[in-house]
């Protein structure tokens, strides 16, 4: 395991395009480092076990029962039993995405399960985790892998929520999150 990761054109492009639309991209080498980073972020955001300060994490392949217990004990107020009420009172939402698109700086997930959408729509900060292995060049590459017959709701997220409806002035954060942090993980294995 190395802490210094090599640069590659597709990753550079993804990062540049995502940052151009006001997303933050944090690249880490392993799942363990990703979890460490997220715990740190949740502490920074003052996540706590009270309404308005929760963090909600949608069920995802990288988190098993063991990881879940460890994270819950590290961050009071971090909840995996996502409900509409909890998500509405959460400061941070976390979810694992299925793909990323380099040329638009987009993250994509099949989101039939409602908790996946709740955590990425209602809180002010959305942390999106994606594996570098799932980084694709563009839409055409994505549509070879992503089948609407197998997923009733496919979500594309490109930067935080935005509007320019008043005087054409770009304003970040309308109905969705006002911040998007993408955690790009080089080796993101599924939970044991």
């Amino acid at each position: 395991m190395s802490l210094i990761v090599d640069s590659s054109p597709i990753i550079d492009l993804f990062k540049a395009r995502a940052e151009a639309v006001s997303a933050q991209v944090q690249r880490v080498a392993t799942k363990a480092l990703a979890m460490e980073l997220i715990v740190r972020l949740l502490h920074q955001e003052s996540v706590a076990d009270k309404p308005g300060s929760y963090a909600v994490w949608a069920a995802c392949p990288m988190i098993g029962a063991g990881e879940r217990r460890a994270l819950e004990s590290a961050v009071p107020g971090l909840r995996f039993d996502v409900t509409r009420e909890l998500a509405a009172e959460a400061r941070v939402g976390i979810s694992q995405m299925d793909w990323a698109l380099a040329n638009t700086g987009t993250v994509v997930q099949t989101a039939d399960e409602v908790d996946k959408r709740l955590v990425s729509t209602l809180p002010l900060l959305h942390i999106a985790i994606v594996s570098a292995d799932d980084l694709l060049p563009d839409l055409s590459a994505l549509f070879k892998q992503c089948d609407p017959r197998k997923a009733a709701y496919i979500s594309f997220i490109t930067g935080p929520s935005r509007t320019a409806d008043i005087e054409r002035v770009l304003t970040i954060g309308v109905h969705g999150p006002e911040r998007l942090i993408i955690v790009l993980v080089d080796e993101l294995e599924v939970a044991a």
């Binding site: 395009r17 639309v21 409900t83 509409r84 509405a88 040329n103 638009t104 700086g105 987009t106 989101a111 039939d112 399960e113 409602v114 959408r117 709740l118 990425s120 729509t121 209602l122 839409l139 055409s140 549509f143 609407p148 017959r149 997923a151 009733a152 709701y153 496919i154 979500s155 594309f156 997220i157 490109t158 930067g159 935080p160 929520s161 935005r162 509007t163 320019a164 409806d165 008043i166 005087e167 054409r168 002035v169 304003t171 954060g173 309308v174 109905h175 969705g176 999150p177």
Partner: protein, 710 residues
């Protein structure tokens, strides 16, 4: 033209917020759009989109059937209808049966089209628009002024006032705070709504999927939180294959808002679980409302290729002055004019179709490859057939169409204007004509028209002959341009003849929808210009060139005079604009530039037809650079000057500010000379600069080139 319509134009022009916001946006859009498309082959993308949508338009019912099957198999309820009333009744009945008390909506032009909100509100159901712009205009009881940015006509002060009056007192005109306020106030509406209503940007037949694109994230909430989701989708959103999404999703955000991709794209292909675990009730309404009828129309079928990006609004020199409300209550701008005529009634478009100046900007950027100006001309033609032409216009055409009478009148006018002409310009006209010289001077009508002057020019006898098509402006206002052309072509060893039988090119009639008149003009000219065996037919006016090259054929076809088409095609092959011919002659070594020409700075104005129909815009630039001149580009060099043929007479209120903007850009370029390849633009811009007392010279490329050759 209706009095209220003219008043709406006057009101719009008098609103500095509107023209300021739209003007700034159109400038930023131009730059942003170009940047968004960097590295992308726009022509290839739009060719794909046009093919996909055109094929879909040919099979609307088939695709709707396929969509219904695929969606129904997944548990979606699909309702198909031609009738707007049936859509409204369906949604209201559903709402009542399910005990729906409040509805949240994300943006949907289809529901605007059928005025759905009013219908539901009348039945006591709360309907909340959640797109920020839509919410603002809903609160203010207004209609959208732009398809993508519905409240672009309002300032932050007005928005603060609307919020204060309708939601909560004391809102300040601070945009970030106003946006936060909207988030806070609409959030409970999302959480408590019983039904969400959305539109769709694309509907995929083979998978029964709808694609919804937003930036604010409201559509994700509308389709996630309420237990019922209803999507109202116009039939034109159908495509056959899932892969067809790619080019549309590539172009739509770039063309709409100059984004690589919007913040959110949702592809919904069936009901998903609600937050309480119950399955969501998903209804998709496929609404026809005359789209099938449109698909049957050989000309207007093309309009179904629209992906509703509104780029035709963003590049329109008229839209950026008057905004959307002048166009009507739902669809606005170029494509809006066409949609209003179909989804409303043809007569509803009778005034707004006149707003189009035929500059062709929209056609160039349309990702659906729709020839919007041509379809607006077709509306004009059908209106002229249905309602007849206005009386004054009829009078004008009867004169233009009678060559002798027209020429006699022009000569008489040359004498009659004497008291008003000074240094070749008319700066004031008496009484009812005064409007014509309010913002620019007019060229004086020549004492001796070109048709007579050419007889006095001693030309060398050459084997190669070229026929010159003068057109009204060169013949009667700028004979000097004609003389320059003779001079240049003589140097290349060509003799210029002026076939006496030539008459008006028919553009004024065509652009007013009077195709019978235009076709007759064409027929007369074909006969005159083919009478003698010439190598080329050359013109210095791009509108005339386009008429000779393309419109004669189209006009004859339109009125069924097919037996004359072969001659029209023979003529078309010989026709060339002056600069293109001159540049060929330079390349062949038949024209040589003088040595030691003083390097003079010039700026170049692109005439609409010259650039966007003839695609010759780089030719004169190159010629003059070869001559030793130095080009300084102006801002928006290819934006219309506001002349537009008779537009300047029909809508001087709009023509004048378009010209004003052009003059400012010319002055900012800082060159002492403007070159142009169109006598109409020379008249408009030259007159405008004269009226401002400017010293900048305005010339046709032919005039300057004639001075630069050996």
């Amino acid at each position: 033209m209706k009095k209220e319509f003219r008043q709406s134009i006057v009101d719009a022009l008098a609103n500095p917020n509107l023209s300021g916001a739209l003007g700034r946006f159109s400038e930023a859009y131009r730059v942003g759009r170009a940047k968004a498309y960097e590295g992308i082959d726009f022509e290839a993308v739009r060719t794909d989109i046009a093919a996909i949508k055109s094929s879909a338009a040919s099979h609307l019912d088939e695709l709707a059937e396929k969509f219904e099957q695929a969606a129904t198999a997944r548990g979606t309820k699909v309702f198909r209808t031609n009738s707007p009333q049936a859509v409204k009744d369906y949604i209201l009945r559903l709402a009542q049966e399910r005990g729906v008390k409040s509805i949240v909506k994300s943006k949907s032009m289809a529901t605007e089209e059928i005025h759905l909100n009013k219908h539901l509100e009348k039945a006591g159901i709360e309907v909340r628009e959640t797109d920020l712009g839509e919410w603002i205009i809903q609160l203010a009881h207004q209609t959208p002024s732009h398809m993508v940015m519905p409240a672009i006509h309002m300032t932050k002060e007005e928005v603060a006032e609307v919020f204060s009056e309708n939601v909560e007192q004391g809102q300040q005109p601070d945009i970030a705070k106003l946006v936060k306020f909207a988030r806070a106030k609409l959030r409970p509406k999302f959480l408590h709504a019983d039904m969400g209503i959305s539109g769709a940007n694309i509907a995929v037949a083979e998978t029964g999927s709808i694609v919804i694109i937003t930036n604010e994230g409201n559509a994700r909430l509308v389709t996630t939180l309420p237990r019922i989701h209803v999507a109202v989708v116009g039939l034109e959103k159908l495509v056959e294959h899932f892969g067809d999404i790619t080019p549309i999703l590539t172009a739509l955000p770039k063309s709409a808002t100059a984004q690589l991709l919007t913040s959110y794209v949702s592809i919904i292909s069936g009901p998903v679980p609600n937050t309480d675990g119950s399955p969501k009730e998903l209804h998709i309404i496929l609404m026809d409302n005359r789209r099938n009828e449109m698909a049957q129309d050989p000309r207007f079928k093309q309009a179904l290729q629209c992906i509703r990006c509104a780029s035709c609004l963003n590049v329109c020199p008229v839209f950026r002055l008057v905004g959307g409300h002048v166009f009507g209550k739902v669809y606005t701008g170029g494509i809006g004019t066409i949609l209003t005529a179909w989804f409303g009634a043809l007569k509803e478009s009778s005034d707004i179709q006149g707003l189009c100046i035929q500059c062709g900007n929209c056609k160039e950027v349309c990702p659906g490859k729709i020839d919007i100006p041509d379809l607006i001309l077709e509306l004009r033609r059908r209106l002229a057939v249905e309602q007849g032409q206005p009386l004054i216009q009829k009078g004008i055409f009867s004169v233009v169409n009678n060559r002798r009478l027209f020429h006699t009148m022009m000569r008489a006018a040359s004498l009659g204007q004497k008291p008003f002409a000074k240094e070749g310009y008319i700066r004031h006209l008496p009484l009812f004509l005064s409007g014509l010289t309010e913002n620019r001077s007019l060229p004086a009508i020549a004492d001796v028209p070109f048709r007579d002057r050419i007889k006095a020019i001693k030309q060398p006898k050459c084997a190669e002959k070229v026929a010159f098509f003068g057109g009204c402006l060169v013949d009667f206002a700028y004979p000097g341009m004609g003389e320059s052309i003779v001079k240049v072509l003589n140097k290349a060893g060509m003799e210029v003849i002026f076939p006496e039988g030539q008459t008006c090119c028919g553009a004024p009639a065509r652009y007013s929808g009077a195709y019978e008149v235009a076709a007759q003009n064409g027929a007369d000219n074909i006969q005159a210009l083919l009478a003698e065996d010439v190598k080329y037919v050359v013109s210095a006016c791009p509108t005339c060139t386009v008429a000779l090259k393309q419109d004669f054929i189209a006009n004859l076809e339109a009125v069924g005079r097919t037996e004359e088409l072969p001659a029209a095609r023979r003529l078309a092959e010989k026709v060339v604009d002056f600069s293109t011919l001159a540049s060929q002659l330079v390349e062949q070594g038949r024209l040589k530039f003088k040595a030691g020409i003083e390097p003079t700075k010039f700026t170049y104005h692109d005439s609409c037809h010259f650039k966007r129909t003839l695609h010759a815009d780089q030719t004169p630039r190159k010629l003059m650079k070869q001559a030793g001149y130095e080009l300084v580009e102006m801002e928006e060099s290819d934006m219309c000057c506001g002349m537009g043929g008779s537009y300047t007479i029909k809508l001087p209120e709009i023509s004048a500010p378009i010209l004003e903007r052009k003059l400012v850009n010319i002055e900012k370029a800082g060159a002492p000379l403007v070159l142009i390849d169109c006598p109409g633009c020379v008249m408009q811009i030259g007159g405008g600069l004269d009226k401002r007392g400017s010293k900048i010279k305005v010339e046709h490329t032919a005039q300057r080139l004639a001075e630069c050759l050996e």
